[in-house]
């Protein structure tokens, strides 16, 4: 076995996994606070990436201005979606809410095709292009820098939720909505905030992923990989999102490299299936007690 090769593949996979972790974090924030499984997360990522394209490519802004603009745009989109389409579903069955998010995904794909056509696109390259070596291991520069930017946001998030007032409100709402409400926390605002923050993380990851892999209206399919991540990690576990994100990213890449690209999805979904059977609430998720 070629350990150097394995090391390089693993490194590439772990770096990709870092981005998965970031998206999964966005997903988990939304789920924890609002109990909504957001099937549209891939499309929100896509939308932000197209915004970046519009700002950096169409309007020829500097990518470093376009990036925050696109990310802000994506998080506003998340907030708007919550307000207009998720909030009316408050109290409906989770299945209906999930289907609303599927519908939202479809609308976003249509909007993107409407505005930018279905043509494949490349994002203006904005990350350094010099190869990165970690010891003897080569890492593609886009992936390396993408990982760094993603991790930075991830750390900011973790600190924010730990120490800020908003973070406390979010965690309180996540653990007990009614109690949070009675403590004077504005639960509706927390819901909206969760969507904004969740979409923000997804948007940044969206731009970074699109920067390495290109962009088209089918981009949202990446949401499937994220779904695997959050189920494996546990829908309501931030730690789970991080661990599973990195693991699934690694597994996908290693399976693709050693078995072939057609094995990427089946490999991760196999892990998903196993987890569903042996630990249905994920590696780190909480098992909820059913009340009669």
């Amino acid at each position: 076995m070629d350990w150097l090769f394995f090391g390089e593949i693993s490194l590439a996979g772990l770096a990709m996994g870092g981005l998965y972790a970031l998206i999964a974090l966005g997903f988990v924030i939304i789920y924890k606070a609002t109990r909504v499984i957001n099937f549209a997360i891939g499309e929100i990522m896509m939308f932000a990436a197209y915004l970046f394209l519009a700002f950096a490519g169409g309007m020829e802004l500097s990518p470093w201005i376009a990036l925050p603009l696109a990310v802000i745009g994506g998080s506003i989109l998340g907030g708007v979606i919550e307000k207009t389409m998720i909030r009316p579903m408050l109290g409906e069955s989770p299945i209906s809410v999930v289907m609303v998010t599927i519908g939202i995904g479809s609308i976003l794909v249509g909007l993107v095709e409407f505005i930018w056509t279905a043509d494949p696109q490349l994002l203006p390259s904005f990350l350094p292009r010099e190869p990165v070596f970690i010891g003897p291991l080569y890492l593609a520069p886009k992936i390396a820098y993408g990982f760094l930017i993603g991790s930075a946001l991830l750390i900011i998030y973790l600190l924010y939720f730990r120490f800020s007032r908003g973070g406390v409100a979010l965690r309180a709402t996540a653990s007990d909505q009614a109690a949070a409400y009675s403590m004077g926390i504005n639960v509706r605002r927390v819901f909206n905030m969760a969507w904004v923050f969740g979409s923000l993380a997804a948007s940044l990851a969206g731009v970074l992923v699109a920067a390495t892999g290109g962009l088209s209206p089918q981009f949202g399919i990446i949401g499937l990989s994220v779904l695997v991540v959050v189920i494996v990690g546990g829908l309501d576990s931030i730690l789970g999102a991080l661990v599973a994100g990195v693991f699934i990213g690694w597994l996908e890449t290693v399976a693709g490299a050693y078995l072939g690209g057609e094995y990427r999805m089946p490999a991760t979904f196999l892990v998903l299936a196993v987890i569903l059977v042996i630990r249905p609430y994920g590696l780190f998720g909480t098992h909820e007690i059913e009340r009669v």
């Binding site: 090769f5 056509t117 992936i143 089918q218």
Partner: protein
């Protein structure tokens, strides 16, 4: 973003002829002869729209041009199409609709999936000859698809042409090595088996095979694999753009001097437009002259004139346009040959006329006379991107497979 909307509007604007097509306007000349109908399931929207729009323009412009030349043996030509959004069921619906209302002699199919799905219907009707966007190897099976042909080399033949080119590039008896990178789709897998066999015959070593999902994926692990085997050539197939760019950029960042090549749908100017300087040196196999090539010929000049006339501002016309035009040209030739022989325009008669095409002069669309083999035109040429000029330039002679 609104500029994009406007820009997209531009793509179709000058082609006001679309209106004519959709509303089946009367042909240009008042003739009492029955019109010959060209039908089409055209992907004006959806994922293949980037090509479909130009295919449509090519077909429309050709129709107008041939009518201005007096039609086919005095029969005016009518082009009737429907948008399919590149969905098989909608393509089938379009075919049923069009064949129910205007009995087309020839028909443009927008995908391999559609061509296969419609085959049984086509065979049982037996009065339409079909070609289209697909260069699928399977469609050259005359038993199963007697009324469908390929307007150029099929994908396997494209690989054959590419490999033949690569074989000539070896120095001092040292055969170059090659890696195939293709998408995990029917389209992507089509020529791989035949390509490997052909490489074996030519003594070319296929050192790596990489399958990826089409479109936006992270390919850094795959690039690392290629870094290990250091192929002299990488042949892409089954992609439009991504991840070709990513392979090229990353491999060059690693300092590899690999040459990159692609098949028909991966050899459009889109690659240059989107990749810019990174596209330099990329090579594609193309059976037609590019619109902006330095070649000329009566038909190629007519094409340029007609394109200029229908939309003076469009400038360059992509390969889809050339492909649409060439399809219609072949249809015309087939219909003409059938009518000349005094036969009816049935599927069998037209297929026979098609098979009789030998050393046919395409007037500059293809640089050499072509002969139909197994319902395809196994001819092509290798072109290479000159990023500075923003166009493809020929690097090989025309290659005609037997």
């Amino acid at each position: 973003m609104f500029r994009n909307i406007l820009k997209k509007g531009r793509r179709l604007a000058g082609l006001g002829s679309l209106v004519a097509a959709l509303t089946m306007a009367a042909p240009v000349m008042a003739q009492d002869k029955e019109p010959v109908v060209f039908g089409g399931s055209i992907p004006l929207s959806g994922v293949f729209a980037f090509a479909g729009i130009h295919i449509h323009a090519g077909l429309t412009d050709y129709t107008n041009w041939i009518n201005s030349q007096g039609g086919i043996n005095g029969h005016p030509v009518e082009y009737v199409m429907e948008d399919t959004a590149y969905e098989v069921d909608r393509s089938v619906a379009a075919f049923k609709k069009i064949s129910g209302s205007s009995s087309p002699a020839t028909y443009y199919g927008d995908s391999t999936g559609f061509m296969k799905a419609i085959a049984s219907e086509l065979n049982s009707q037996g009065n339409t000859l079909m070609s289209g966007a697909s260069f699928a190897t399977a469609l050259t099976d005359n038993e199963q698809y007697p009324y469908q042909f390929i307007p150029g080399p099929n994908y396997s033949q494209m690989f054959g042409i590419i490999l033949e080119y690569i074989a000539t590039q070896g120095e001092g008896g040292d055969m170059p090595t090659v890696a195939f990178v293709y998408s995990d789709t029917e389209f992507g897998k089509d020529p791989i088996e035949n390509g490997k066999a052909r490489a074996g015959e030519l003594g070319i070593d296929v050192v790596e095979e990489i399958v990826t999902k089409p479109g936006s994926v992270d390919v850094s692990a795959e690039v690392l694999k290629l870094r290990r085997v250091r192929p002299d050539y990488v042949v892409f197939h089954g992609y439009v753009l991504s991840p070709i760019n990513e392979f090229m950029v990353q491999m060059r960042q690693m300092g590899l001097d690999t040459q990159f090549m692609g098949t028909f749908w991966s050899s459009d100017k889109l690659i240059i437009d989107k990749m810019g300087a990174d596209a330099d040196g990329y090579m594609g196999v193309m059976p037609y002259n590019y619109y902006d090539s330095e070649e000329s010929g009566p038909m190629l000049d007519a094409l340029r004139a007609q394109a200029e006339k229908s939309d003076p501002e469009a400038g360059y016309r992509p390969t889809g346009y050339m492909q649409g035009w060439f399809n219609a040209m072949v249809w015309t030739e087939v219909v003409k040959r059938t009518l000349d022989a005094g036969k009816e325009l049935t599927g069998d008669n037209m297929a026979e006329s098609l098979a009789s095409i030998e050393d046919w002069d395409t007037g500059g669309i293809i640089g050499i006379p072509v002969t139909v083999r197994n319902m395809s035109f196994p001819v092509g040429r290798i072109w290479r991107v000159n990023a500075e000029e923003g166009r493809y330039e020929p690097v090989s002679d025309w290659i005609h497979l037997d």
